[in-house]
Symmetry: C2
Subunit: 83 residues, 2 copies
């Protein structure tokens, strides 16, 4: 099973990388951009095949290592392996 | 309209950040991890409301600035604003 974890900064946390991208897009003449936020995506190939167990395992990984839960949110998507 | 862009390294491109995460998870006693890849997620708030035009605009942004298409793939999801 594959897990895709989206880690994004919480609303209200300053995102200088996002601001830099927004400015760069503006200077390339892209208009109508109201905001840009940058985050991380982590894709993990898991041996676990049970969906509930896999979600629990990935959630533990996020809490212990992958995300800083003080300033970041994470969102887990599980993608079953092609049979 | 909101656009979410997932930028990931192409298959075969070395991903040292992913390897570092995999090793760190291993040392925290998470088992059954066959591979880890890290990428970026960029969320853009667009003034554009037409889906076709928005996708074209975001695709141009990726080609010109956001992704290095030699080594990275990008994937665009459009999320209509809540009415």
């Amino acid at each position: 099973m594959k897990a895709r974890i989206l880690i994004t900064l919480k609303t209200g946390v300053l995102d200088p990388q996002g601001k830099a991208i927004q400015k760069a897009l503006g200077s390339l003449n892209f208009d109508g951009i109201d905001g840009v936020r940058q985050g991380k995506v982590i894709e993990i190939d898991l041996a676990e095949t049970n969906e509930v167990a896999a979600r629990k395992q990935v959630s533990d990984m996020c809490d212990k290592l992958l995300a800083n839960t003080v300033i970041e949110n994470y969102d887990i998507e599980l993608i079953p392996s092609a049979a």
